[in-house]
């Protein structure tokens, strides 16, 4: 038994329900001074909910949070901050149009102070950024920062408040491998300075690398607490997923002819998001092409281009070898391009429409479902029922509003909607973001099945592990530029990370010229 006097944070039997879903079921957890506890679990296991309760953003139905031996009042972020708890959210809580300094000093002084102590603020931030190796331009607008820099601002924000306990929610989800290394260096400095850390992740190698102890959550329950030294990745994977969740096997692909080609295409920049810069890309039959990169580097432009939502400013598009003129969304649908959009809530579905209506969104005007201006709702409903059965969409029925479905089931309906037509080109943009492991495996196996029957699949993801596992060919996108193609297994994660950070592109240009 280790000394319990050193416990800085104790969660006691925290329970939180959202409607019927029990997000946290009597979870207890403790954190000692100077250690890193990893909170491991799949998407939807309840990690973020638990930390939001700790940080006062949700109120627990029962259970208490104790910091340095004192119980925190529930639902009060200020109390958590004052007690020394800082949180770096997965979705950054920064005001884009304000400067780094403004974001950090917000709320750190009494509201009704007559003036800001500008030079003192600057001095304190500078000291912290030196001590913890967090370099960032204080006067820069947050909107102009990279994702890695924004995360540094988030960490600075917490450290500025002199927190003693730092909670990081999926901090590496959006980072390149190199940025992750920098983050870990910062966290080790923090530990050396006497902080304690809760590190939330579902990535096993990171958990093994940074943590002292691991707490594993599954379906809202705490299933295990182990010392990192006494365990390994395989054991943790089993604890995290339970048994029965098996990732699909991947056979070797046999690529066929070019189905969709983009040649030297450029698109205009949209705000601070770069457009494509002379990008060429071939999608071949029976092959999954993975597009790796940190979000906001032109993935959206490329996805929109394939989906027909934007047209090239220069360059050409070829479909089955024929040049395409007047490329449009309607054209893309008619040519049988299956589109799985990045944001299933905003662009993939219409939240208050029924499953039936959502199922026929892209084909409502085909002869199957309407003629001379009249809808055939019976056929549409039968189509929806068919998808629900085949793709195992768990729902009360085809007339349910789709907003009531979980993310995984929503995605299954979208999959069914586009794959039922046996498309030969599939655009899968972040297809498993936010899904639990079962749904992830299901989506992946459907994409592999599409590939194996001869479809060309373009997989866009921020998750390098997913890209490396599924893709037969990998391209990296950075600043709107596309790397050359790398065959499966020819590049290590850190090499790809270098490309993601923008290295290698310039040499490529010199070689070409």
């Amino acid at each position: 038994m280790r000394d319990t006097a050193d416990v800085v944070l104790r969660l006691d039997a925290i329970t939180k329900r959202f409607g019927k879903l029990i997000a946290n079921d009597a979870i207890s957890l403790s954190l000692r001074r100077g250690e890193v506890v990893a909170l491991l679990g799949e998407n939807g296991a309840g990690k973020t909910t638990l930390m939001n309760i700790l940080f006062g953003q949700y109120t627990a139905d029962s259970g208490t949070v104790e910091v340095f031996g004192r119980v925190l009042p529930p639902g009060n972020s200020r109390a958590a901050l004052d007690a020394g708890v800082g949180m770096v959210h997965q979705h950054f809580t920064l005001a884009d149009n304000m400067t780094v300094k403004e974001n950090i000093s917000l709320g750190a002084q009494p509201l009704f102070a007559l003036s800001m102590k500008n030079s003192e603020i600057t001095k304190k931030i500078k000291k912290i950024s030196d001590d913890f190796n967090l370099k960032v331009d204080l006067e820069a607008r947050v909107a102009n920062l990279t994702v890695g820099e924004r995360q540094r601002v988030e960490i600075l924000k917490a450290l500025y408040r002199d927190v003693k306990i730092l909670i990081l929610d999926e901090p590496t989800a959006v980072l390149t491998p190199q940025e992750t290394d920098d983050l870990f260096a910062t966290l080790r400095l923090a530990i050396a300075n006497g902080l304690s850390i809760v590190f939330i992740s579902h990535k096993l190698h990171e958990v093994m690398a940074i943590s002292d102890r691991v707490s594993v959550l599954r379906h809202g329950k705490l299933v295990a607490e182990v010392d990192t030294a006494d365990t390994d990745k395989e054991a943790l994977a089993t604890l995290m997923m339970g048994t029965g969740a098996v990732a699909p096997d991947i056979a070797v692909a046999t690529p066929g002819r070019d189905l969709f080609s983009i040649k030297n295409v450029s698109t205009p920049n949209i705000g601070s998001i770069p457009g494509l810069k002379r990008v060429s890309l071939n999608l071949k039959a029976g092959q999954i092409v993975g597009l790796a990169g940190v979000s906001g580097n032109g993935q959206a432009a490329l996805a929109d281009l394939v989906a027909g939502l934007c047209t090239p400013a220069e360059g050409t598009i070829e479909h089955h070898g024929d040049p395409v003129k007047n490329w449009s969304a309607r054209d893309a649908v008619n040519k049988g391009i299956a589109r799985i959009p990045e944001d299933r809530h905003k662009t993939g579905t219409i939240a208050d429409f029924s499953l039936t209506e959502n199922a026929i969104l892209e084909c409502y005007n085909s002869d199957d479902f309407s003629k001379s201006g009249w809808m055939y709702w019976k056929k549409a409903r039968a189509f929806a029922v068919d998808i629900i059965d085949k793709y195992d969409v768990r729902c009360p029925g085809p007339d349910t509003r789709i907003r009531l479905l979980s993310g995984g089931n929503m995605q299954k309906l979208i999959l069914g909607r586009v794959l039922e037509a046996a498309p030969d080109i599939v655009l899968a943009n972040q297809p498993v973001r936010g899904l639990d492991i079962g749904a992830v495996n299901y989506v992946h196996s459907q994409l592999l099945a599409a590939r194996d029957r001869g479809a060309a699949v373009l997989l866009i993801s921020e998750d390098l592990d997913e890209i490396m596992r599924l893709s037969d060919v990998i391209h990296v996108i950075s600043g709107g530029r596309l790397s050359p193609e790398f065959l499966r297994g020819t590049k290590s994660p850190s090499e790809l990370g270098g490309w993601m950070a923008g290295q290698g592109f310039d040499e490529q240009v010199t070689h070409a010229s």
Partner: protein
């Protein structure tokens, strides 16, 4: 040539500042609300209520400054109503705002009828008198325009400076701006988005009511129906024109007032004899629309304007 004569006359510029004052007050009020993320369409009605309340208070025997305070408090009460519905309850800011305008306007007219059931023409009060600031008012043209106004006008200009300092130089202003840009960031720093937004709407509404009160207590000395006459809506456009910045908004208010003062005078020149007067009445609005198009395309809208914030929502 007659227009040149108008433009160099001190009385013209004095009129510009006088016409601008209620717009300046109302625009600052709206700007504070919108900077915190709340569009306050109650502005037109709140100005009507403020115009009546200030005037009525003075008519009932209070001092002039007490009248201004009464107007402000009445405005803040309507602001409280607006804020309570739009911030904690997160109702549509458009619907609530228009509702507050209708409620404030009609209840004002109702109160007027209750208070003065018999009168056909409303009574006059002893309004604010011009106060010539020594030395400064002796500057040619400019002195007459800027430094021979009523104290109410000086107060309006002081409030612009105060608003600017508050927004950009104090922790409170930082929090207000952040509430309009990213309420999630405000909440994550342990501040109350609800408190900040409600406070901004209430104070902003107080400013709007003062803008209305200027009409009955300084520009004129009596209360008429329809006297606010769309100034609230103009103020909303001026906030956009000013890119949500107090200084630029002040400039916009002066510019609009300039067009307005000019058209009144041009009507009386030889041009006015040939052209229907309605054309002149239109010009400030048309020129403002043109200016709005030219200036505000690059305007930086508060990112969370009109987006309700609910803590703990999934």
């Amino acid at each position: 040539m007659e227009i040149v004569d108008i433009l160099i006359s001190a009385s013209f510029w004095a009129a510009v500042i006088r016409i601008a004052t209620p717009l300046i007050l109302a625009t600052m009020g709206e700007l504070i609300c919108e900077r915190a993320g709340v569009l306050n369409l109650g502005i037109e009605g709140i100005m009507v209520a403020g115009a009546f309340a200030g005037w009525m208070a003075v008519y009932s025997g209070t001092g002039l400054w007490m009248g201004v305070a009464v107007a402000m408090v009445v405005g803040m009460l309507f602001g409280l109503l607006h804020a309570a519905l739009t911030v904690p309850f997160g109702l549509s800011q458009h619907v609530v705002g228009l509702g507050v305008t209708l409620l404030a306007t009609s209840s004002t007219y109702f109160a007027y009828r209750l208070a003065l059931p018999q009168v056909t023409s409303p009574p006059k009060i002893a309004a604010f008198q011009a106060y010539e600031i020594p030395i400064l008012s002796d500057i040619p043209v400019l002195g007459q325009a800027l430094f021979s106004q009523t104290p109410f006008t000086y107060l309006a200009f002081a409030l612009v400076a105060a608003t600017g300092i508050m927004l950009y130089r104090t922790p409170l202003g930082l929090a207000v701006r952040a509430a309009g840009e990213s309420p999630a960031a405000v909440a994550a720093q342990g501040l109350s988005v609800t408190g900040i937004r409600m406070g901004a709407v209430i104070v902003g509404s107080g400013f709007m009511a003062m803008g209305g009160a200027f009409l009955t207590m300084s520009a004129f000395d009596s209360f008429f129906f329809e006297m606010v006459n769309g100034r609230g809506w103009v103020a909303i456009a001026l906030v956009v024109f000013g890119s949500w910045k107090p200084g630029k908004a002040l400039l916009g208010a002066v510019l609009f007032a300039g067009f307005d003062a000019l058209q009144i005078r041009v009507q009386q020149t030889s041009l006015g004899a040939d052209i229907p007067y309605q054309i002149f009445l239109m010009t400030p609005y048309i020129l403002s629309i043109v200016a709005l198009i030219l200036v505000s395309r690059r305007a930086q809208v508060p990112a969370a304007l009109m987006i309700p914030f609910n803590k703990g929502e999934r």
